[in-house]
């Protein structure tokens, strides 16, 4: 029998000789979310930060990139004299200070990081700066000592993936880690990979004056986006800017340069034939080819877990499995966030952390990943939840229902026009029979804020008809969603 007492001193004690009820390895957004939820549920919790409170999101990802996007977006906006003039605004001589923008990002990360840490200590989570790994059941190696915990959550996160042949010096050839430092604004930047990381960086660098070449291995640019959204994104975010791209090619060899002495050399080969197609000599190269789980030193071999390309296999309740597609659960061991590969997003990790804690305290819970929204913070933004159109079509075919699609346009939205930002669409994919929402994709002004009601609706299982009767504030961008919902059930808004 397990019981917990809470002594007057405020210290909690774990039962059964455990040092802690829960030890969390990794202090990114996922670990942090799990830790807060755990102490809220009365678990004695420790978190092993490995010296990286905040993890990728806060230090090398979402947070600093938003700072760069905010600053560079303003530069872009203020330099768009034509657009401003349409609003009756004249701005002369817009300048920026690269170092100040870089500092803004750095300071923001520091601020968020310290807030994060304070919340942990303030709420009673023991923060251990050591790096942790699984030593055995209930045992965690924390630096030189071993701590015992009843349950363990792995939240080690991920690292930028650097394909073979690419040499990274983080100065002229860099990953997102180096890119976010904004050490320079190169005349010509090559970005290997056209996913959302690459796209956001292209937004930053082109706004600041760089020219960009995307190198995409798949045969279309932005391959991870809904095809229609990708097409629009190409029209809005690539073509009008100083960007070009190559598709179907690998950057097979990238050699760093020396500023002012020699350029970065990028050799490209055909993705299929592997034959050399072109060599670029650029000023800098960002490698944005995705991320790999940071699980090498997690000690999972000590508990008999066979990893899948580095990802930790888990079931829907975040319990670690001995192998992929396996059924054998490793007791008291959970893995959340990028390391399990379910959905490599900060807020997904956080949701998974909370879910894992729920499961730990005996309330079975599973995250509905279909209802987790995602966003790309370009100008304009891209956001989506659920299936993309191709996936939805496949599903419709497989399950024999008719797929419905309705589109709302920013061009017809008063608020968007007032802002002079009429570009973009909101697309709702739904089952025609049940009117269940399968996916929503938005590209346009503040898309990342607009997606939320759809995510909520998907999570709550609301139908598109129910949404179409929800009242949307006028005049707001949310009416773009409204017109899409209404269009889905045959109500005209224009």
């Amino acid at each position: 029998m397990v019981f917990r007492v809470r002594p007057a001193g405020g210290l909690w004690m774990a039962g059964d000789n455990y040092d802690y009820d829960l030890v969390i390895i990794g202090c990114g957004v996922g670990g942090h979310g799990a830790a807060l939820h755990a102490v809220g549920k009365g678990l004695k919790t420790a978190i092993l930060t490995g010296g990286d409170v905040g993890g990728t999101c806060v230090n090398r990802g979402c947070v600093p990139s938003k700072a760069l996007l905010a600053a560079s977006g303003r530069v872009r906006e203020l330099r768009n004299a034509h657009h401003l003039k349409a609003l009756g605004v004249t701005v002369d001589n817009v300048k920026y200070d690269r170092q100040a923008i870089a500092d803004h990002a750095k300071n923001l990360a520091a601020k968020v990081r310290s807030g994060l840490e304070n919340s942990l200590t303030g709420l009673g989570v023991e923060v251990i700066p050591e790096k942790g790994s699984v030593k055995g059941p209930h045992e965690v190696q924390a630096g030189s000592r071993v701590v015992r915990a009843k349950d363990i959550i792995l939240a080690p996160g991920s690292l930028p993936f650097v394909p073979r042949g690419i040499e990274v010096d983080e100065k002229t050839v860099f990953t997102s880690d180096g890119g976010l430092r904004l050490d320079s604004v190169p005349e010509w930047l090559a970005i290997v990979g056209s996913g959302y990381i690459g796209l956001e960086f292209s937004d930053v660098f082109t706004a600041l004056g760089s020219e960009v070449t995307f190198i995409e291995a798949l045969d279309r640019i932005m391959p991870t986006f809904d095809p229609e959204i990708a097409r629009l994104a190409e029209r809005l975010l690539i073509r009008p800017r100083s960007i070009d791209y190559r598709t179907g090619v690998f950057a097979s060899e990238v050699t760093p340069g020396i500023p002012g002495e020699k350029p970065v050399t990028i050799k490209m080969i055909d993705a299929n034939t592997k034959e050399h197609v072109e060599t670029l000599e650029v000023d800098a190269c960002l490698v944005a080819t995705g991320r790999v789980p940071n699980t090498k030193e997690c000690g999972l071999e000590n508990v008999g877990v066979e990893m899948d390309r580095g990802f930790v296999p888990v079931d829907e309740r975040m319990r670690v499995l001995t192998k992929k597609e396996g059924v054998e659960v490793v007791p008291n061991l959970y893995c959340i966030g990028d390391a399990n590969g379910k959905m490599m997003l900060a807020h997904a990790a956080s949701a998974q952390g909370i879910s894992a804690v729920e499961n730990i305290i005996g309330r079975p819970h599973a995250v509905n990943h279909n209802a987790v929204p995602a966003a790309c913070f370009t100008h304009p933004e891209i956001a989506f939840v659920g299936l993309n159109e191709d996936q939805a079509k496949d599903k419709a075919k497989a399950e024999g229902f008719e797929l419905g699609k309705s589109t709302g346009h920013f061009r017809a939205n008063s608020k968007a026009l007032a802002e002079g930002e009429g570009d973009g669409i909101a697309k709702v994919l739904f089952r025609k029979d049940t009117e269940e929402i399968l996916g929503v994709h938005v590209i346009g002004l503040h898309a990342s804020d607009l997606i939320q009601e759809c995510a909520n609706a998907v999570a709550a299982g609301q139908t598109v008809r129910e949404l179409s009767y929800m009242v949307h504030t006028h005049p707001t961008l949310s009416e773009v969603m409204d017109s899409a919902f209404k269009g889905a059930v045959g109500i005209r808004t224009h």
């Binding site: 003039k85 005349e187 100083s242 020699k262 350029p263 000599e281 224009h494």
Partner: protein, 919 residues
């Protein structure tokens, strides 16, 4: 009060023999200048609008001014300007308004006489083709009635589509131009005139009609057509009408088959003047239509051609068989209706370009409608041969936006089609200057780095000596205008281009000489200004128009002069990169920084040789080069590692650059290796060869001004006269007064000035105005050339005849110093009435100066060289002689004038130099 639409048009009633069908004369056969009788279109029995003034028999005769079809693609036109006000009397041929069409601005003249009673569409407003835009009352007393009672003329009104209004068109090809050097607008007119095609086009049968369906052709191909023959029946939105021909000839080709629809103004059929030419006309297609043939009352074809055809002389038919562009079947891509309320759409982006293959279902363009942006897919398969509506332009629903052809080989044919493929064989007869106005304007541009703005010439027949001033900016060119060209800049460029030719200058001066002309010039400039792109469109603030003379205001130039700042080193922060006063202040205080400049990469410009196969060009350079067909390897790169940037390509194309970057410093030349001591010969061997500069070097404003001025004078007929002047006495005088600060230059100027007093003709300039006159400036201002490092200035000694020699010398020194510091004011270097260029101090024997603009003469001075001569006293002796050469404008100065001037100058300097100290 009169009710709208009820107006009695009396005069037509008797001309209407037809009870129920309209009989329509096409304007074919109507030459633009030859007004057609107002009754040429006869109305039916509905022709009477009964006045509502009860039983009054008073008749009010009104005419309307309607929006003419200025081109076959024009559906609507914008009234840029009304040149008449309400109440003004309008004579036949008076220009009533300026209309902006999709191609160009045109002046529209009235063929009716009367009083402008009401403008229905204000300046700036748009009207559909055929729509009534103004009302004319025949009598002054009727102005109020017409203005108050008639909102619009009922459909089928007699006055429209028959020549109530028309557009001035270029001179008919049969009428030889009266002056050589006239920019000939339509190059293939000679050939076209030989082909002699006429056309039948879709008339505007009512004010609401924008298109008509050819219900029936009453003549077949090959049929003889007489004037007055009904050739087709057209179904408009109101009624069926017979359309008859005013041309005689043979129906060569029916372009719009029965049952098909044509837009108002579109050519429906071609008429050949002889039977033999039917085939030629047929194969030539619409391009064979002679402009000004009257086939279109507005010269449409001509307008279209001008924007398309390069300035190539055409072939007269009798000289060589006409090579005609084969007609290629094309498929149109239309502007789709994307919503029930959409009437027009803007092509925001072409996803395919000319040459691209298009499959059925493939997205070809993005269209912005009133509600949404949509990608539009093609229902046709083929290759894009021609884009008719460029990205950013608007087309009405249903209008073709691009042409598809079935094979890639046909693309060129379609692209080339408008340039009726006659190859030049012999020069056209009575060849008026074989340069289109656009080309002339371009050729007149002195500086290659300045953007070429193509101004289209529309002959209004108004200006003396046949000069056709380009009066509007071709809209096709507008799209290529550099951003940041505000209306004033465009107007300034326009004026500058005009001034760059003698003819243009003469024209301007001509205009300037009368108040009426000045007003006209104002109108012209207004028209040119409206073609400016939106101010500052997409221009980052520091992007400057490189090399433009208009980057700075005179005030700013002044400031820069005073601060001693080279404007080319200042990046402007104003719209379009204009240099503002604060920029000068910042530059002066050294605070100026370039935004976005990144010390990390941009400080060091490495010398780098790209690896094999590497295209050293940025994405934007590649994109631009592809668009403009530029070979990147031919462009010198100024980017990092010597790569070609977008701006480098722009520079190569003579387009203004976007980013004002600091001028790339020349790669540091390696210092010569130190010569090893004691081995001078070795050192000599290894002495580096001084590298010679290669490539283009930018010219500064002063250099460009010199180039422009010099070019401008080549059209002036000059002659040159030289003589030797013995300078011993002059030299002696100089020695005597040297200590008092008197300079040779001042003495020379004084001598010339005093001599000019006696020879005012040498001090006068020729004025082209009013067929030529001699302009006496009223004072003697001697300008003398001063060589500067890389330039030339001509400071002016004002009233050199009146100012004493000592003051003159002081003035000169001051002027020279100012010139060296580039601080000369405009008045100090542009007010010369006579020029002296003295290269004697550099040992030059004799020189042959070029006449600067605005004066009658310049004198070149060589060195004074000792010569053995027989002197006046019979002894052989040595005397110093200098050779002076006068270059004079022979339009008003004759050889004897020059000789007499030199004789008196020589006399003064040789025999009476003391006089120089007196006056």
């Amino acid at each position: 009060m009169m009710r709208a639409g009820h107006l009695l048009v009396a005069l037509l009633a008797t001309l209407c023999p037809y009870a129920s069908s309209f009989r329509l004369h096409t304007p074919a056969g109507l030459t633009a200048r030859a007004p057609m009788a107002r009754g040429s279109v006869h109305r039916s029995g509905r022709v009477r609008w009964v006045s509502m003034q009860g039983a009054s028999t008073a008749t009010v005769v009104a005419h309307d001014i309607f929006m003419p079809a200025l081109s076959s693609t024009m559906n609507e036109g914008k009234i840029v300007q009304w040149t008449k006000e309400e109440g003004d009397f309008i004579a036949k041929g008076d220009i009533v308004m300026v209309v902006e069409s999709d191609k160009a601005d045109m002046e529209v003249e009235s063929f009716s006489e009367g009083y402008l009673a009401k403008k229905l569409v204000d300046a700036g407003g748009t009207a559909n083709v055929g729509e009534t835009v103004g009302l004319i009352a025949e009598s002054k007393d009727d102005i109020a009635a017409v203005a108050g009672g008639l909102g619009s003329i009922p459909s089928g009104d007699a006055n429209r589509h028959d020549g109530t209004t028309t557009v001035r068109i270029p001179p008919s090809p049969t009428a030889p131009s009266d002056s050589a050097g006239v920019p000939e607008t339509f190059m293939d007119e000679a050939a076209i005139a030989q082909i002699g095609a006429r056309e039948v086009f879709m008339p505007a049968l009512s004010s609401t009609m924008t298109e008509g369906k050819v219900a029936k052709w009453l003549k077949g191909e090959g049929d003889r057509v007489e004037v007055g023959d009904v050739v087709m029946v057209v179904e408009s939105d109101k009624a069926d009408m017979d359309v008859e021909s005013f041309e005689e000839g043979y129906l060569a080709k029916i372009l719009v088959p029965e049952g098909s629809t044509a837009r108002v103004g579109e050519t429906c059929a071609l008429i050949a003047d002889t039977q033999e030419k039917i085939d030629v006309v047929r194969s030539a297609g619409v391009q064979a239509i002679a402009s000004g043939s009257g086939s279109r009352h507005d010269g449409t074809t001509a307008v279209y051609d001008r924007s398309e055809s390069p300035a190539a002389p055409a072939t007269p038919v009798q000289a060589a068989p006409v090579v005609l562009a084969p007609s290629v079947p094309t498929t149109d891509l239309f502007m789709p209706a994307l919503s029930s309320t959409m009437t027009e759409g803007k092509v925001t982006q072409w996803l395919k370009k000319v040459g691209d293959k298009v499959n059925v279902g493939e997205m070809v363009m993005v269209v912005e409608s009133d509600k949404a942006d949509m990608e539009v897919e093609s229902f046709e398969e083929g290759y894009i041969a021609k884009v008719l509506v460029d990205a950013g332009d608007v087309a009405n629903v249903g209008d073709p936006v691009a042409l598809l052809v079935q094979s890639p080989e046909d693309i060129d044919k379609v692209t080339a089609a408008p340039r009726t493929g006659a190859q030049p064989a012999v020069p056209p007869p009575a060849a008026p200057a074989a340069a289109a106005a656009t080309a002339a304007a371009a050729a007149g541009l002195p500086a290659p780095s300045r953007p070429v703005i193509s101004f289209a010439a529309v002959d209004t027949g108004k200006y003396a000596n046949g000069f056709v001033p380009p009066t509007s900016l071709d809209q096709d060119v507008r799209a290529q205008l550099p951003p940041g060209y505000d209306p004033d800049t465009v107007a300034a460029v326009y004026l500058d281009q005009l001034r760059s030719t003698a003819q243009g200058r003469a024209f301007l001066e001509d205009l300037d000489s009368t108040p009426r002309g000045q007003k006209e010039l104002q109108l012209m400039l207004e028209r040119v200004k409206i073609r400016a792109p939106p101010l500052g469109a997409l221009v980052p603030p520091d992007q400057a128009i490189s090399g433009s003379l208009f980057r700075e205001s005179p005030h700013v130039r002044d400031l820069a002069d005073k601060a001693g700042i080279d404007l080319s080193t200042v990046s402007g922060s104003g719209p379009g990169g204009r240099i503002l006063p604060q920029d000068i202040a910042e530059a002066a205080s050294g605070k100026r920084e370039h935004w976005g400049k990144d010390e990390y990469y941009q400080q060091k410009k490495a010398v780098w040789t790209p690896a094999e196969g590497v295209v050293a060009a940025t994405p934007m350079a590649r994109r631009l080069a592809k668009e403009k067909g530029v070979d990147l390897s031919s462009v010198r790169g100024t980017g990092n590692f010597g790569r070609v940037t977008g701006d480098d390509v722009r520079r190569a194309l003579g387009m203004p650059v976007e980013k004002e970057e600091p001028r790339p410093a020349a790669p540091p030349s390696k210092p010569a290796p130190p010569a090893p001591a004691g081995r001078p010969s070795a050192a000599k061997e290894t002495a580096p060869v001084k590298p010679m500069a290669a490539g283009l070097a930018a010219m500064d404003g002063m250099q460009k001004a010199v180039a422009r001025n010099m070019e401008a004078t080549v059209s002036v007929p000059v002659f040159r006269v030289s003589r030797a002047i013995v300078t011993d006495a002059f030299d002696q005088l100089y020695k005597d007064v040297k200590e008092k600060g008197v300079t040779v230059s001042a003495l020379l100027a004084k001598a010339v000035a005093l001599t000019l007093e006696k020879h005012p003709i040498l001090n006068a300039a020729y004025d082209v105005a009013n067929g030529g006159s001699i302009r006496h400036p009223g004072e003697v201002n001697v300008a003398m050339a001063v060589a500067l490092d890389g330039g030339l200035l001509t400071p002016v000694l004002k009233q050199a005849n009146a100012v004493d020699i000592f003051q003159l010398s002081r003035d000169w020194k001051e002027l020279v110093n100012k010139a060296r510091d580039k601080k000369l004011g405009a008045a100090e270097m542009s007010t010369g009435t006579f020029y002296i260029s003295n290269l004697g101090m550099m040992g030059v024997n004799q020189m042959d100066p070029i006449l600067p603009p605005g004066v009658g003469a310049i004198m070149g001075v060589g060195a004074a060289i000792p010569r053995v001569t027989v002197q006046g006293n019979g002894f052989i002796g040595v005397q110093k002689e200098m050779t002076v050469t006068l270059t004079c404008d022979h339009r008003h100065i004759y050889g004897a004038d020059a000789a007499a001037f030199l004789q008196d100058l020589a006399h003064l300097m040789e025999n009476d130099p003391q006089r120089l100290l007196m006056g």
